[in-house]
Amino acid sequence: MSHHAYQPKGPRFEAEADYVVVGSGAGGAMAAVTLARAGQQVAIVEAGPWREPKDYPSSAYGALRDLFDEYGTTVTMGRALWPVVQARVVGGTTVINSAIAVRTPSDVFDRWQREFDIPRAELADSVWRHEDRVERELCVEEVPAGSLGRSNELALLGGKRLEYENHVMRRYTKHCDGSGQCLQGCKAGKKQSTNLNYVPETLSRGGHVLSSAPVERVVFEGTRAIGVLGHFVDPLHRKRGAEFFVRAKKGVVIAASATHSPALLQRSGLRHPALGKFFRAHPGTGVFGVYDQPVDMNIGATQGWASIHYRDSPGLKLETLAIPPEMVAGRLSGGGHTLMARVKEFRHLAMWVCAVRAESHGTVKNGFGNRPSVRYTLDRADMEKLRTGLHLVAKTHFAAGAKRVIPGIQGLPYDLGPDQLHVLENAPLDPRAYVAILSHLFGGCVMGKDERTSVCDPNGRVHGYQGLLVADASVIPSNLGVNPQHTIMGLAGHFMERQVA
């Protein structure tokens, strides 16, 4: 077993394994450990460095530098430039996410069967079985009452008063102590990101891990994938190091994310009609509530409260989200003395968000410097959902006792009182009026039976190729309406079990 970190320019590095897994996030780590437990030798090849909790940054700037993909600079090319947020580190986006675990809703499998001819019965049972396993292994727990913090408690109160379904989140954490630092990586080691469990387990089962090793292309012999090629990249200065080639005796599993997987397959020469298409997301944006008493949202779990009451109609998920002062400062509108007066209220602010179960879809292309280029714009129907979501969030703030809300929408007043809620109902439908982000991403290499409309089959195998699989968010052909990590892991486990059966 061996870990190979950055290697400076010099002789080519070569290794061999039964399976090469590209990416070590939710999908890649799950794929790797499932294969390793089945007795296969696995090499994980990961673009980012391997950081332990002691290496994690503390500040948001440090997180952008050390954990985020391209400093978080990937944005949608469309009407609005919304950041597409992902990590580039061993453990992938599980290192920076909030670890919320939600089982795949049953209606998702129904839809996949109806629209993509993906057999429901076997898939649903298998995915749920893997999700059960992940819940046990990654210690899914409800946020402990003592770690909720005031923002999450207020949201519970608001939801209760409005009498809609709402709950304390269940997350992949071992006794979360509510430090509110999930976005910067959990220094306390409570969050069960995959760099702490499935990646080291794969290594201990005789595998290899190459870190700081972005794959440039998959190598083929005819239509059989036989390995991956790239150059190490210095994690600090981003200089190119030695070339590497990892040979795969049985298969290459692509799990580089919904943006990087399609881009990687495109630059490897795949010419599927559906490759890079059907990119989807749950775009999210938030409203601050301003409370009389300090909320101190950075004390308590980063995200601890949610509601799926509006998941089916109009298609929304509501959540709390604590962001640190350095991000709040950029998020409140205005500058100069106006801004200083606004940030003074920081301790009294609570940020709650809505994630839209958007039906709009876009495309991913391999762009300049091997960076994915994402074309995506929300259509009018999805923008209406977003606006409704912000209205619901604001309403919940008022129900919880907020004296004002700050919607952060261009063209609207800076803040609104309880008697001004109707203003949000008429908020603009132009995406450029909103500061939103994309953090739940899907598609680009969608699965399905039809080779013309899908890249891989319902077992993750790329149509028309041998020994080439995809096992990450990019295979998901629809939105989910819930947080995706559980579904991604369930699918990756299912695909790999099928592969070695």
Binding site: H3, A5, Y6, P49, W50, R51, E52, K54, D55, P57, S58, S59, A60, Y61, G62, L64, R65, D66, E70, Y71, T73, A80, L81, S211, S212, P235, L236, P294, D296, N298, P324, P325, E326, M327, V328, A329, G330, R331, S333, G334, G335, G336, H337, T338, L339, M340, A341, V343, K344, F346, R347, Q410, R432, V435
Partner: protein, 122 residues
């Protein structure tokens, strides 16, 4: 950046939050796209008072009140790309200002330990 976080309302300005040290680190470490975006935002801010306050002078020649008006109009400008460029500048400034120990202390938060930047080499 100084115009965005000038200090006041009992809070320190960005100059007192080690802006120089932050910018040194930023220009050594950040991705090229981000550095270019920051420079573009700063240039735009300096050169655009004509668009916001109708004065054909660079922003540094404006009075404090004019500068404040210029900045706020730019940040909410109807042309999306103009306000986005300035928003990026403000976001980066926020990363510096909001993470400084003196600001965190005022928000009852402990100082951040340094960002080690380390990783596993074996």
């Amino acid at each position: 950046m100084v115009a965005i976080f000038p200090g006041g309302s009992g809070l320190p300005g960005i100059v007192e939050c080690d802006l120089d040290g932050f910018l040194d680190r930023f220009f050594q470490e950040a991705a090229l796209a981000l550095k270019l975006g920051l420079v573009a935002g700063a240039v735009l801010y300096q050169l655009s008072p004509l668009l916001t306050v109708g004065l054909p002078v660079p922003a540094f020649l404006l009075s404090e009140a004019q500068r404040e008006r210029h900045l706020n109009r730019l940040l909410s400008h109807p042309i999306y790309l103009l306000r986005q460029a300035c928003f990026l500048l403000k976001t980066v400034a926020g990363l510096c200002w909001g993470s400084h120990p003196s600001v965190r202390a005022l928000y009852a938060l402990p100082p951040y330990p340094p960002d080690p930047g380390s990783c596993r080499s074996t």
